[in-house]
């Protein structure tokens, strides 16, 4: 994942991409498409107007064609920079889309004419184009074939390479029935065969959606983006009123500025900065998600992720490693703990389960034991029936396993076990862990006088191994960060409340739902939502589907069932439930970037007034020069500098728009304080500096 991340990062600065984006930005000047963005559309209209005025000035030799020509040029640049920002944001998704498209085209499907036919090889197959498949069709996919569409396996089992979607080349097993029955069009069957019932409409498969998404073709304005567009359109209208009416008011004062100058005033006042970068921010936000291998079915979901109040996290795999691991050896009195560790190690050598491996690892790690060389021994592998594993040596046998199985092996009833042993078992169970017992059985040869040697055995309980759910390192800090952001974490587990409480405390979650059934999850989500909170969760099984659909943000695992993937509004291609946290962060970052640039853009207006207003009327009222606090060289250079600043700031902020503002997991109050300082006050101050510097350059170059 990280490798892929890097290769796509370099694409951002790929010269080929820049050239293509530049070409695209010119294509995007088409007023019909530009109308979606009122601020930039107005800029384009007035740019055209000033161009006409420049032509008039140029051919009639009136006015100042040098000045109006420069203003016209910079107005066009303003529009171009805005379309360029969008083009470059889109360009980053295009390479990926091309790769995806290759997997889809020219796929042929083997459709079963009679899906009920018992044998798949009996000649009732027709070859059709994958694009002509309809939901309900059943196709046969054999080793080496590309799966033609999304579907559900109805028969067979196969190993599938899903790297076209996930970038992960390890094969996965897909089989009919259960939670691993979904297959995705565009992935390849490596071995065996499967019959797949198609579930997607032609052109609406997962890959199709993915292509549309990364290309931005299906991009619709998200709710916040829409609201922001309305605000920007409103501000544009207000300033349009201010500038148009200025004509009448200035006429009264005998101070009518030229149309070129009024246009310059208008364009610098309307929020061109955020207007130009708005769609790029949205596209870049989606791309960030795609780079994290998470696919959102809508931009709405990405925004909702930023709003989430409650995170529902499955214990297993998210908070803890999937398996219980040995964490401690508890030796009984009189037993050296090193001896216990050695016995546990030997008894676990033949245990290939993760628990067994963890015991070996703990013994080696904590006691520095080397892998013992054992000769003349018989390994007893772990079996589900006996729930024991062990090693038979010539003189003794070692066993480790579930407490009752071990006691049975030792020939003891639970009452016969030493009290210290029973106390330790109780303690481990209460803390949410699982105790495993270790026993050593020695063969004792007793030689009675005048008789054959009698062999009997003698058992000694050595102690216990404490198996527990190991909480992932660092997860507690992440939950603390989430808490600081105002997000509550809730752990979902099938464990009993006692165990759940112990793990919840260790992981630092705010709440937990123990012995959770799918209905419990659904009810919990509803309860949270009634309380005015937005809920995010992830899941993969079919029984997760209702909860995924109910949650405001439902992240389905790519490895999950078709039902789960359809119920959620995001799919995680890596099937890593921990990513829910990143998804929330990406959502927040997207909103923050928009907010920061909006605030910056609006705050810029104050300085622009100080640049342009004195210049506007200084001809009629020379005394207004007192307001020229920046001491700009001349009225013309002041206006030109403001327009240039207005254009250049868009290009200067493109990296920020694409990258997103830096995000820190702190509370809203301190986030706001910091961002208001940087983007609010910064937005007030930056243009004073910028316009002054440009004015110095403009004057030095004799441009005005």
């Amino acid at each position: 994942m990280s490798a892929k991340f890097k290769t796509r990062r370099t694409l951002l600065f790929d010269p080929a991409l820049l050239i293509e984006a530049a070409a695209d930005s010119v294509r995007k000047l088409n007023p019909k498409t530009l109308m979606r963005n009122p601020v930039i559309f107005v800029t384009e209209v007035v740019a055209a107007l000033v161009t006409l005025l420049w032509l008039r000035d140029y051919f009639s030799a009136t006015g100042s064609p040098f000045f109006s020509g420069q203003i016209a040029a910079w107005l066009w640049f303003t529009v171009l920079f805005a379309t360029f920002a969008e083009a470059i944001a889109e360009g980053r998704g295009k390479a990926q889309a091309a790769a995806l498209r290759a997997s889809r085209s020219d796929t042929m499907a083997k459709r079963l004419i009679d899906p009920q036919g018992r044998d798949h090889l009996d000649g009732v197959i027709e070859n059709v184009n994958a694009l002509s498949l309809n939901p309900g069709d059943v196709v046969l996919v054999e080793a080496g074939d590309i799966i033609p569409s999304d579907g559900e396996i109805v028969e067979g089992v196969a190993s599938v390479n899903e790297s076209a979607i996930t970038g992960e080349s390890a094969a996965v097993i897909r089989e009919a029935g259960g939670d691993r029955s979904a297959v995705t069009g565009g992935t390849t069957v490596l071995s065996d065969w499967i019959k797949v019932r198609v579930t997607a409409q032609p052109g609406e498969t997962f890959v199709d959606r993915m292509i549309a998404l990364v290309e931005g073709a299906e991009r619709q304005k998200t709710p916040n983006e829409l609201a922001l567009s309305v605000l920007l359109a409103g501000l544009t209208l207000i300033f349009l009123i201010a500038v148009v009416t200025l004509y009448g008011l200035a006429a009264y004062s005998g101070a009518v500025p030229s149309v070129v100058v009024l246009v310059a005033l208008l364009v610098t006042l309307i929020p061109t900065t955020i207007g130009g970068l708005l769609s790029a921010i949205g596209i870049a936000g989606m791309n960030r998600l795609v780079r994290f291998n998470v696919l959102a079915t809508s931009g709405r979901a990405v925004e909702a992720a930023g709003d989430v109040d409650t995170l529902l996290l499955d214990k297993t795999g998210t908070i803890t490693f999937g398996n219980r691991m040995a964490s401690e050896f508890v030796a009984l009195p009189g037993v050296d703990s090193r001896r216990l560790a050695e016995a546990a190690l030997l008894a676990s050598l033949a245990d290939e389960t993760p628990e067994g491996r963890s015991i070996v690892a703990l013994a080696k790690g904590d006691f520095g034991l080397a892998e013992p060389e054992v000769f003349d021994a018989r390994a007893i592998p772990f079996a589900a029936q006996t729930r024991l594993s062990g090693l038979d040596l010539s003189t003794k046998s070692l066993r480790k396993g579930a407490v009752d199985s071990v006691l049975k092996f030792a020939g003891l009833s639970s009452e016969q076990a030493p009290p210290e042993f029973r106390a330790a078992v109780d303690r481990i169970s209460r803390s949410g862990g699982t105790p495993l017992a270790v026993v050593e059985t020695r063969n004792v040869q007793a030689h009675a006088v005048g008789a054959d040697a009698v062999a009997f055995t003698e058992s000694e309980l050595l102690g216990l191994i404490h198996l527990k759910d190991v909480v992932k390192p660092g997860i507690k800090a992440r939950f603390a960060a989430l808490r600081a952001m105002g997000i509550k974490t809730v752990m979902i587990t099938g464990d009993n409340p006692l165990t759940a409480a112990a793990i919840a405390t260790e992981a630092g979650v705010d709440d937990f739902l123990a012995e959770a059934t799918p209905e419990d999850k659904l009810n919990f989500i509803r309860k949270e939502q009634t309380g005015g909170r937005l809920v995010a969760m992830c899941g993969d099984g079919t029984n997760d589907a209702p909860a995924l659909a109910q949650a405001d943000v439902g992240v389905a695992m790519q490895s999950g069932t078709q039902a789960a993937r359809e119920a959620g509004n995001m799919v995680d291609l890596d099937s890593d439930p921990t990513k829910l946290i990143e998804v929330v962060e990406i959502g927040k970052q997207l909103l923050m970037t928009r907010g920061a640039l909006t605030t910056f853009s609006i705050a810029n207006d104050v300085a622009k007034y100080f640049a342009i207003l004195p210049a506007l009327f200084v001809a009629a009222y020379p005394e207004l020069g007192a307001l020229n606090v920046m001491h700009l060289a001349s009225p013309q250079s002041a206006i030109l500098s403001a327009v240039i600043f207005n254009a250049i700031i868009i290009i200067a902020l493109i990296p920020l728009a694409l990258k997103g503002v830096s995000y820190r997991a702190v509370g809203a109050a301190s986030l706001l304080r910091r961002n208001l300082l940087v983007y609010g006050l910064g937005g007030l101050a930056a243009p004073f500096v910028g316009i002054k510097l440009i004015d110095v350059a403009v004057t030095a170059l004799n441009l005005a």
């Binding site: 409103g234 209208l237 004062s253 105002g486 207004l624 109050a669």
Partner: protein
């Protein structure tokens, strides 16, 4: 500026703050329908009104029905007031035998009092009979104020309720605002005005012989009662043409303090009530804080500009120590005049105790700009509250995204629909003010009304439409507004400023009320701290005020720099 002056200002502000909290909490209880001390006496009266009007007080209205009721009530009010003004010659209580008011002036005046503007294109004592003053104008002083409070209540409920389809009952809110708040307060304040020496009589004018032996007609009437509601209801329409500069309206310094106090207190208390109703009293104080920052800056600017005076006069040998005293009453002094000027325009009151036309350019810039900011400082009774809420919604939206969540104000998510409606409302003021001013500035028949040329004349035009659209009603003077063009266009501005503004706001309230109330968390944008106050001030200034700067640059601002350069108009 003197320490003494600032202490006077602090005293008045202090008195307002002391009264605002108990009054705000009382209003929160009254409008919630809870029993208060007053309901013992007024409860039966209230129920009597409902019985008479056939209103069932439990039946609540959605935003559309609520707004519809308000519009119907206003239309009826307009018709009756217009009729009274036109027919006053045949109506009782007309000791001076005034003629009926001409159609365009009656239209303008009816709209003016209906919209709580109280723009007066006439001189009260020479145009209106006692009946017109009391049964016509004074009645609307109550009703337009009560209507404003009712609308503010509806907007408040949009935040205090979750997933609600209704915003209250207009008739109930209107009745309670009048009966429990405006009437009792007016009674108290009117008596206080009588105590300071304001006349309260049905007698007509008296003739007096002056020291020079000339005969002078001195108008009298029920002044004190009119004065009370004029201030409490932020109406501002004076009994006399000279308004609160007239010694009968505003007899002495104590009366002056009472005038400012009664203007500010109800609007300030409404913000406290808002906080209480939405379950966070701090929220009300935060809004009040933002208002205070801008208003006090305005006071300081007027005070500084007026005490600095006019360098041209100083050059002519006038004592500059007194500052600019032209158009001011010596008995009020510079400090309380500056406070009055800023407060009457920060509120949509429009009562004046000095001639705004005679303020220095910067001093005149302040009232003009404060009205243009949208009459939210703290605004007219009711209208100020809902105007402030619109700005708060915009402030939360603009900066709220910066905390990485869909912006929410008091648990209500701010989305495209709310922004659309809020922007529609905000658009009204520049449209009316700049639109009409730009036309008037080039229309010869309109320009004929101007008394001054140059930037000062432009200020007069701007001020007239600003005052009308902002529903303020104060006059810059120097402009003869009683012509058909001015009467009709200012009336349209007043209608736009009141109804064009409040209809989108009510639609926004309806949409907000229907939303679930989100639970606050550490990730929620805090809207009750100093950070939000600063942000709100910035947004009011940038979104509400910046668009007027090009126009202001040609008016008071250029006049100021010209004055410094030695030019006058």
């Amino acid at each position: 500026m003197t320490i003494n002056g600032w202490l006077q200002i602090a005293l008045v502000i202090g008195l307002v703050l002391i009264a605002a909290r108990p009054l705000g909490l009382y209003m929160a209880a009254v409008f919630d329908g809870r029993r208060t001390l007053a309901s013992v006496a007024l409860g039966p009266v209230e129920r009597g009104f409902y019985w008479l009007a056939g209103v069932s007080p439990e039946k609540e209205q959605g935003w559309l029905a609520y707004t519809g009721a308000m519009l119907m009530f206003s239309a009826l009010g307009f018709a009756s007031l217009y009729a009274i003004l036109r027919l006053q010659a045949w109506l009782p209580l007309n000791p001076q035998g005034f003629e009926g008011v001409p159609p365009d002036l009656a239209f303008n005046t009816a709209i003016s009092f209906l919209t709580n503007t109280n723009w007066q294109a006439y001189g009260g004592e020479t145009t209106m009979s006692h009946f017109s003053q009391m049964a016509g104008l004074a009645v609307h002083n109550f009703l337009s104020a009560a209507t404003g409070i009712a609308l503010a209540l509806a907007v408040t409920r949009a935040f205090s309720r979750g997933a609600a389809a209704t915003l209250g009952n207009f008739w109930v809110d209107l009745t309670r605002a009048t009966l429990y708040v405006l009437l009792p307060l007016s009674l108290l304040v009117a008596l206080a005005f009588v105590a300071t020496g304001a006349p309260q009589t049905f007698a007509g004018a008296v003739d007096a012989a002056t020291l020079e032996g000339a005969k002078q007609t001195i108008a009298l009437g029920p002044v004190a009662s009119q004065e009370a509601i004029k201030q409490l209801g932020t109406n501002g329409g004076g009994f006399f043409n000279a308004n609160a500069a007239h010694p009968f309206e505003n007899p002495n310094a104590f009366a002056n303090i009472l005038q400012i106090w009664s203007m500010l207190t109800v609007s300030a208390a409404l913000l406290v009530m808002f906080g209480k109703a939405v379950g966070a009293e701090r929220q009300g104080w935060a809004l009040l804080g933002a208002v205070g920052v801008i208003l006090l800056s305005g006071v300081a600017l007027v005070y500084a500009a007026e005490t600095a005076g006019n360098p041209l006069l100083a050059a002519l040998g006038l004592d500059p120590a007194q500052g600019n005293l032209e158009g001011k009453e010596l008995r009020f002094g510079q400090a309380l005049t500056a406070l009055y000027v800023a407060v009457t325009t920060g509120l949509s009151c429009g009562a004046v105790n000095a001639m705004h036309d005679s303020l220095t350019p910067l001093g005149g810039f302040v009232p003009l700009f404060l009205i243009q900011l949208g009459e939210v400082l703290p605004g007219g009774v009711g209208s100020g509250l809902y105007g402030l809420v619109v700005f708060a919604v915009l402030a939360v939206f603009i900066a709220g995204l910066m905390v990485g969540r869909t912006p929410e104000f008091l648990g209500k998510k701010i989305e495209a629909r709310e922004i659309k409606l809020a922007m529609l409302a905000v658009l009204i003021l520049p449209l009316a003010i700049l639109g009409f001013s730009a036309v008037a500035a080039v229309l010869p028949s309109a320009l004929a009304s101007l008394a001054n040329a140059g930037p000062h004349g432009l200020s007069e035009i701007l001020y007239t439409y600003t005052s009308a659209a902002g529903n303020n009603g104060s006059a810059f003077a120097g402009l003869n507004a009683n012509t058909p063009w001015w009467n009709v266009t200012t009336a349209i501005s007043m209608i736009l400023g009141r109804f064009g503004y409040v209809i989108p706001v009510m639609a926004m309230a309806g949409s907000l009320a229907a939303k679930k109330k989100a639970a606050p968390s550490a990730g929620t944008f805090p809207t009750d701290g100093p950070l939000f106050v600063g942000l709100l001030v910035g947004v009011i200034f940038i979104v509400g005020g910046l668009q007027f700067f090009p126009a202001l640059a040609l008016g008071p601002i250029v006049e100021h720099v010209l004055m410094l350069a030695g030019k006058t108009f």
